[in-house]
């Protein structure tokens, strides 16, 4: 049972991050309407929304990757 608790922790962390990040993306960022009054405002809003979504997704990927790599390196050192 040595490895099961860290892995349950990893599943729990990714669960919290999925709820938080995808909740923010779909309920706050996606419904944002045009932020600017000028002609190209729609396009700039679109770019801003896409950038925020990409940053949030990359945060999830980076966080999970870092935790996993740290865990794996630590375990393989003791193998």
């Amino acid at each position: 049972m040595k490895n099961i608790f860290p892995l349950l922790g990893l599943v729990f962390i990714s669960f919290v991050l999925v709820l938080l990040i995808f909740g923010i993306i779909f309920t706050i960022i996606v419904p944002i309407n045009n932020l600017f009054q000028f002609r190209l405002g729609n396009i700039i809003t679109g770019i801003l929304k896409t950038s925020m979504v990409v940053i949030l997704c990359m945060t999830w990927i980076y966080a999970i990757n870092r935790i996993t790599k740290f865990y794996l390196d630590d375990r393989l050192k003791n193998q």
Partner: protein, 333 residues
């Protein structure tokens, strides 16, 4: 009165599913051995071969049961589930017979969610716990198009040890039924019965030591059906949470390999099987990261123990999914 008639329909499709999967799988195992359609079980210390693919018995059973359900209910949702499952299953069957390659499979799987979109059987209101609902008329169909190949490939990637993919999907399907019951969506509850019973009986043949393997036809059809039920039933978030360990497994693999590829084409395998049957993690940093490698890293174990660990992870994520479904739909009781 209505619940009573749903109960009777449920009873009929349960009996049909159980008989069909039992007969089809037993018959398929003997046919596959007769035609020498067998593959090596990599994780055994002694060379052992297993009948493959078992997907056709799963596809036939789900098809029969869902057609009977459609006969009683006349719901387009059932047709969408049938078509999605069959398209994914056919792609899997082609891959079983003639290897499609790492890129073709996900591309072809984009065809499987098309019936859900064209039959317009989805609800574009995505409900999030704590955050509330959001209406996504344009983005939602695009998400459907991506979601079904993801669920199919996720179940396909978790199919590494005896009985894991069947057991994992079976455990992950329980929160789906729970959420659908809380929503009072009886048609979708009935549509999930063939998936659950098919997996339960197939698991009897697939569990350690396996008598038959799913093959891509089995895993892709099960994954597509799971995704279709989650989307059409409006319990997408519950489906994602219940499948989280399997999704993480796919993510680890893709993030470490950095391309779509078949497991059998990987040069450095993530795990090593020792002569006594103990499975240990590969120390080479170029080896792909998988859930099994994480489980055995610094803790070499036999196949049975690893299967137990994976099922604990599945039960934990399903438990989280049940809590979330209570938070989302519990008020509707």
């Amino acid at each position: 009165m209505i619940i009573n008639s749903y109960f009777n329909i449920g009873l009929v499709i349960s009996v049909i599913t159980c008989i069909s999967i039992f007969i089809c799988t037993k018959f398929l195992i003997s046919i596959l051995w007769k035609f020498k359609s067998i593959v090596l079980d990599y994780h055994k210390s002694k060379k052992s071969f297993v009948a493959h693919p078992g997907g056709p018995s799963i596809i036939i059973t789900i098809l029969i049961a869902e057609i009977v359900l459609y006969y009683f209910t006349n719901e387009l949702k059932i047709i969408a589930i049938i078509l999605t499952t069959i398209i994914a299953g056919t792609i899997g069957l082609i891959d079983d017979l003639k290897n499609l390659g790492g890129y073709w499979k996900p591309i072809l799987l984009l065809l499987s969610p098309i019936p859900i979109i064209f039959l317009d059987v989805y609800n574009p209101n995505l409900l999030f716990p704590l955050f509330g609902a959001v209406h996504m008329t344009i983005i939602y169909p695009v998400l459907i198009l991506i979601a079904i190949p993801i669920t199919s490939n996720t179940i396909n990637t978790i199919d590494v040890l005896n009985g894991v993919s069947s057991g994992f999907t079976l455990v992950a399907a329980i929160p789906l039924v729970f959420a659908l019951l809380l929503k009072g969506d009886w048609i979708m509850v009935l549509a999930t019965i063939p998936l659950i019973l098919t997996l339960t009986i197939f698991l009897h043949y697939h569990k350690y030591p396996s008598k038959i393997f799913h093959g891509d036809s089995g895993t892709l059809s099960i994954g597509a059906m799971y995704g279709a039920i989650a989307i059409i039933g409006g319990v997408e978030i519950i489906g994602v949470i219940a499948l989280l360990p399997a999704i993480l497994n796919s993510f680890f693999f893709l993030a470490s390999v950095k391309r779509f590829t078949e497991h059998k084409l990987i040069k450095i395998r993530p795990t090593i099987v020792l002569p006594d049957g103990i499975i240990t993690a590969e120390k080479d940093h170029r080896a792909p990261i998988t859930l099994v490698r994480l489980i055995v890293a610094g803790n070499p174990s036999n196949e049975k123990t690893i299967i137990k660990y994976m099922m604990i992870l599945a039960i934990f994520s399903s438990f989280l999914a049940i809590i979330v479904s209570l938070a989302m739909f519990g008020v509707a009781i």
